[in-house]
């Protein structure tokens, strides 16, 4: 068993191994260093996994040496490799970026607990992405949610606590719904391995249980992924969490639930329930469309910059839901690639917001006037991100919009409507991005506002611009992101590579 074969287990093991260490050794600055080291190693491992997965082959790693349906098996294909890369990348970027801004938001006393929770959140998300066992997804979902609650409650403002509480209630209800769904699936098939479930669920004759299981799983995951009507926990959670935490959870955490939705819908329910596409479309398209419009409209009238970006995340998740609902290769590729690209765009934008918050001590759009002159580099990064949201070429947003519209066009007249919806909502994105740009560049700072003169510190600016430049790189050379996404879409839909 060379090291190379052990990689799938290593990507999670490294994080889980360092978490207790980061908690125990409490010297000054050690928890942060241990956390960053572990997350960066995990990122490197994830990239090498992606390298193998881009060849189109799926890695099966039997945990504890037990064969598939009996033991737990890690199942890494192109989709999981791409998501693992996104999660660990976003986590390391946020950690490196957050060194300074976390230092003053999270006191010295709670630092060990905080960074151990950070490691566990990353481990939970990556664990969910690579595992091939339905119940194991639930366990790692719990790890990531519990640690996310801890991370959010570390926010300085007292409203962070009440938003954490609401997130705990909705998150646990969502996870329990997922558990009920898995329970019903287990009841009709007798196994928990996703591949095995997919094979056996086809021969089930009493279809009622499978339908209800599909309903529960989808609703549960929709709550965790903040799909529109069930998103009420997300804006407050993003707004009152510490800035570096918002960068990480905005880029990665909601996408993982959408990943699980894709995995469950396409690997298990697709080949069992007869016209599952129709159900999926009926379930996701209305939700997606509502998310698109409601998210953008709420963002337009929002005063707080972080909540504005959170609402824009709600509408971007609507795009992904639409992509999933189209059940075609192009649609699924668009959804997967948008998960990756949106992670990049939002990560960069929230980093810029964190730089602004560090200097201006507030994230209210009104008193960020004149930020364009005071902090040119930060605002430039924010504008690049904003253009990405709109879907202007040379930004990652363009690529995902390209695939979504391409997929919609294949659907005939309903598709034409979808195209109109997608484009109108990206025009709404123009409005709320331009609202911020006008305030920042063309309005003089208010007299009583605290005069901000110097740029954000170099240690925060460089990671921000690294993320923005990677975004532009993935806009120009899409061989990695679109390559992995199309292989994933083809394997999920059973189309030849």
């Amino acid at each position: 068993m060379t090291l190379y074969d052990q990689l799938p287990a290593l990507v999670v093991a490294v994080l889980l191994f360092t978490a207790p260490i980061a908690y125990m050794l409490r010297m000054h600055g050690f928890p942060w260093a241990a956390a960053t080291a572990a997350v960066v190693t995990s990122f490197i491992v994830a990239c090498s996994l992606a390298a193998t997965a881009i060849g189109g082959e799926t890695i099966i790693y039997e945990m504890g040496g037990w064969p598939a349906p009996y033991g737990i098996v890690l199942h890494i294909d192109a989709l999981s490799a791409l998501m693992a890369m996104l999660i660990t990348g976003a986590s390391s970027a946020a950690l490196i970026f957050g060194a300074k801004s976390l230092a003053d938001e999270v006191g010295e006393e709670t630092a060990p607990a905080f960074f151990a929770a950070w490691l566990l959140c990353t481990a939970g998300l990556v664990g969910m992405v690579i595992t091939g066992d339905a119940f194991n997804i639930f366990v790692f979902m719990e790890i990531s949610s519990l640690s996310t609650y801890v991370l959010i409650s570390a926010g300085p403002d007292r409203r962070a606590l009440i938003s954490t509480y609401r997130y705990i209630v909705m998150g646990t209800v969502g996870a329990t719904f997922y558990l009920i769904g898995v329970g019903f699936l287990y009841m009709v098939t007798g196994t928990l391995n996703t591949a095995d479930l997919g094979a056996r669920v086809g021969q089930v004759e009493d279809i009622r249980l499978v339908l209800v299981a599909a309903g529960f799983v989808s609703v549960g995951l929709a709550v965790k992924a903040a799909v529109f009507p069930l998103h009420s926990w997300m804006p407050n959670a993003y707004t009152f969490a510490p800035n570096a935490v918002t960068v990480f959870i905005a880029a990665a955490s909601t996408k993982v639930s959408l990943y699980v939705l894709i995995r469950v819908d396409y690997a298990i329910f697709q080949n069992s329930i007869a016209n599952h596409e129709v159900q999926l479309t009926l379930f996701l398209v209305p939700l997606g469309v509502m998310a698109l419009f409601a998210g953008s409209l709420l963002a337009i009238y929002e005063k707080n910059l972080k909540r504005l970006l959170a609402y824009s995340s709600v509408s971007q998740i609507g795009y992904i839901a639409l992509g999933i609902a189209m059940t075609s290769v192009a649609g699924l590729t668009g959804a997967i690639v948008h998960m990756f690209n949106h992670g990049l765009i939002k990560g960069g934008m929230f980093m810029a917001v964190a730089c602004l918050a560090l200097r201006y001590r507030t994230v209210n759009v009104a008193n960020l006037a004149g930020a364009g002159k005071a902090m040119p580099w930060t605002m430039a990064a924010f504008v690049m991100g904003g253009l990405g949201l709109i879907g202007v070429p040379l930004t990652p947003g363009f690529i995902s919009k390209w695939y979504l519209v391409l997929a919609a066009l294949e659907k005939g007249w309903l598709g034409a409507l979808l195209v109109a919806v997608i484009l109108i909502s990206s025009l709404l994105a123009v409005i709320y991005v331009w609202k911020v740009i006008e305030v920042a560049y063309f309005r003089e700072p208010r007299a009583n506002a605290v005069p901000v003169t110097e740029e954000a510190p170099m240690v925060m600016l460089i990671p921000t611009w690294i993320v923005v430049l990677t975004g532009i790189w993935f806009a120009l050379d899409t061989s990695v992101s679109v390559g992995l996404a199309s292989i994933a879409a083809k394997t999920l839909l059973g189309v030849a590579l």
Binding site: F135, E142, Y165
Partner: protein, 119 residues
């Protein structure tokens, strides 16, 4: 007579209903947390009522005993994990409730919402 066999699942459904109702209808945070833990423990009932086999006993294989029917061990393992998940979530929720009480002075969600709106 057949319906009696499904009684477990009906109780599971009723407990879910009560748990969810308690969660949604009550504004007190501690009461909602109790509702949440009830909601979770209902699911345990669903899994464990799957593992019963007529005439079976707990899956402990003694040497001497031959052709003994055993209950299904898998749901039990899953529920062992789920119970501990339940208690961890409750513990965390209670800790947050205590902090909310100290920060806001009350644990009624509607009063907290008013305070937030005024702020």
């Amino acid at each position: 007579m057949a319906v009696l066999g499904l009684y477990n699942y009906f109780v599971f459904a009723v407990l879910l209903m009560i748990g969810l109702y308690c969660l949604l209808a009550r504004t007190n945070i501690i009461k909602s947390i109790i509702g949440l833990s009830m909601f979770q423990s209902a699911v345990f009932l669903l899994y464990i009522s799957m593992d019963k086999v007529d005439g079976g006993t707990a899956p402990i294989i003694q040497e001497g005993v031959e052709n003994q029917i055993f209950a299904n061990p898998l749901p039990q393992v899953l529920i062992l994990t789920a119970i501990v998940v339940g208690i961890s979530t409750t513990a965390l929720a209670l800790a947050v409730a205590v902090r909310i009480r100290e920060a806001y002075g009350t644990i009624e969600e509607d009063k907290i919402q008013e305070m937030d709106r005024k702020q």
